[in-house]
Symmetry: C2
Subunit: 336 residues, 2 copies
């Protein structure tokens, strides 16, 4: 099958490799034609997925028409801040064609607070877009290390279509219909990972981090419930599964940013030296806005936002989190 992967970052490249392993003809879009020509020549993506040989029926182009013009499936995996603009570039080749479309991007559109599958409706008129998320460090998936993810769509046929498309020996796909839950889990875990990284950077131990991440899971589930997602989704791969790998694996970018903040570096200094996007930095403000809109308490998101955008000292932020009065766990104490 001909598949368009819109996005040449680490996760986009890992998903493209997964599809190529299944025998599909994959065309990858990126914004930088000169860079893509190098990738196509060397079969390596040194900027976003260094050290991985890009083998299989793969092609690269910065031209939407040659990537998606005849695609039978579209996989969207561009950082959220470029999402709508990129979708607009693909409107002529994708919109109204009824081609199955899936988002693997994590985050919200700033300002509108819309999820990526909502942008697919806005820009491409996709009736039942799918979302893919789960514990998936890109280099592991790219190397064929076993990975399991969730794919959700309001249309069970669309979810099953993408399950067949992606599933293979080392890539397991579980289907569901809770698109909101899958997208929220994927986006919000990056904010909790920033907090977990801060905790590590300050030299706290695993006990404190586990307590923080447990509260983070409750925070995500609470906001999700207010937004119509199902609690069981947050208990699954795209919820706690992704959360634990992002908060406990040293390979997570968001965790790394948090860790460097915890060690006293400035956000500007950290981001200035990074090639790839740490989505959590951007997601944090949107998550806080969503929580306000839905009247949900999100103390961890609040403290991370105060550190990122309000100049709050990391020690003071952690003190405020730890210093909350001890309560019964089910009243929103530890699990809240």
């Amino acid at each position: 099958m001909k598949v368009a992967v819109i996005g040449d970052g680490g996760w986009g490249s890992a998903l493209a490799l997964t599809l190529a392993r299944n025998g599909h003809a994959v065309r990858i879009w990126g914004p930088d034609a000169a860079y893509l020509a190098d990738v196509a020549r060397t079969r390596e993506n040194p900027r976003f997925l260094p050290g991985v040989k890009m083998e299989g029926d793969l092609g690269w182009s910065a031209d939407p028409e040659s990537v998606a013009g005849d695609a039978e499936a579209v996989v969207f995996v561009v950082p959220s801040q470029f999402a709508r603009a990129t979708m607009k570039r693909f409107a002529g080749t994708v919109a109204g064609r009824g081609v199955p479309a899936l988002s693997a991007t994590k985050g919200f559109e700033e300002g509108t607070l819309r999820r990526m599958t909502e942008l697919m409706r806005d820009e491409w008129g996709v009736a039942a877009p799918a979302a893919l998320s789960g514990p998936s460090i890109a280099p592991e998936t790219a190397r064929g290390v076993p990975t399991a993810v969730a794919v959700a769509s309001a249309d069970a046929g669309v979810a099953a279509f993408f399950q067949r498309l992606f599933a293979g020996e080392t890539f397991r796909v579980y289907t569901g219909d809770d698109v909101t839950g899958v997208e929220l889990g994927g986006a919000l875990k990056n904010v909790i990972a920033l907090a977990a990284g801060i905790c590590d950077g300050l030299g706290y131990g695993h006990n404190a981090k586990a307590a923080l991440v447990t509260r983070g899971a409750a925070e995500i589930a609470r906001l999700g419930a207010a937004m119509g997602a199902r609690a069981e989704t947050f208990a699954g791969l795209s919820g706690i599964g992704d959360l634990m790998v992002t908060c406990f694996s040293p390979q997570s970018r968001n965790h790394t940013v948090g860790e460097r903040l915890g060690k006293g570096e400035t956000l500007e200094g950290i981001l200035g030296g990074m090639v790839q996007v740490a989505e959590g930095v951007r997601t944090c403000a949107s998550a806080l806005a969503l929580a306000k809109k839905h009247g949900v308490e999100v103390p961890i998101v609040e403290q991370v936002d105060a550190v990122l955008h309000g100049g709050r000292d990391v020690r003071e932020a952690v003190r405020r989190l730890m210093g909350r009065p001890a309560r019964a766990e089910r009243d929103g104490g530890a699990a809240g």
Copy 2:
């Protein structure tokens, strides 16, 4: 307040230190009088908590009467296989006195499958025993690194009593009434940690381990539900909180045993060289028996049991887990 801590292992010693920090007079019981005399003299517990200075109002004795005779609270933290026999030794000093009693032991009694607080009822006639569990690597807690745990009792007054007793600057206690849930989470996570360790020992990555642990969390919650525990307990500190630290921290004994199994060592060889108990090895058989009794599917527990006690090769066990047909997540696929 005078507190008896029955058990001189790593976790018992860490809890004793936590109590001493709060100004309590703590007496610790262990089975080996000569060893305890050394601990009392050197103020170190090299066998179970090496490198930590045991400071505060602490005393050690192998005599039940001098440890618990005038205790106003009893903390029980002896490995599960010695639990009932040890309780019997304390029957004369504790039973029928109405003294508040808490279990911090993780596991079941083999054969009867009874939980530790149930043994406290059996042997001491404690009406409303408490259970304490949560993400708590003993050396971290002992060193005063921030830790948060759950304490549950059917009697809210008892839970609040132990919350006041333990809570301090670096030790947070959240109360609840789901004793079954807290004890199950604490016991069963050790079995999942063995599986996570096997995964690591075989060289699988973080993606696969996170997927496994997510399924493990669902397995624990499913068995818990059948046994009358509440789902929300497993979403809290004593559930996923403890599970993630045990499966992702390199300091967990059960994880280490699993990792060495994954690398090809035999169970006999591993356990022969260990001073401390890896509770998961013993808990596994009990967990499987409980699952059968309650008619609950526990594929991870089954495979760990087959490796530990059925001679199954670790690769074959993992293959059987990974090889289950892909399903919808909520039908017991990834989250099941």
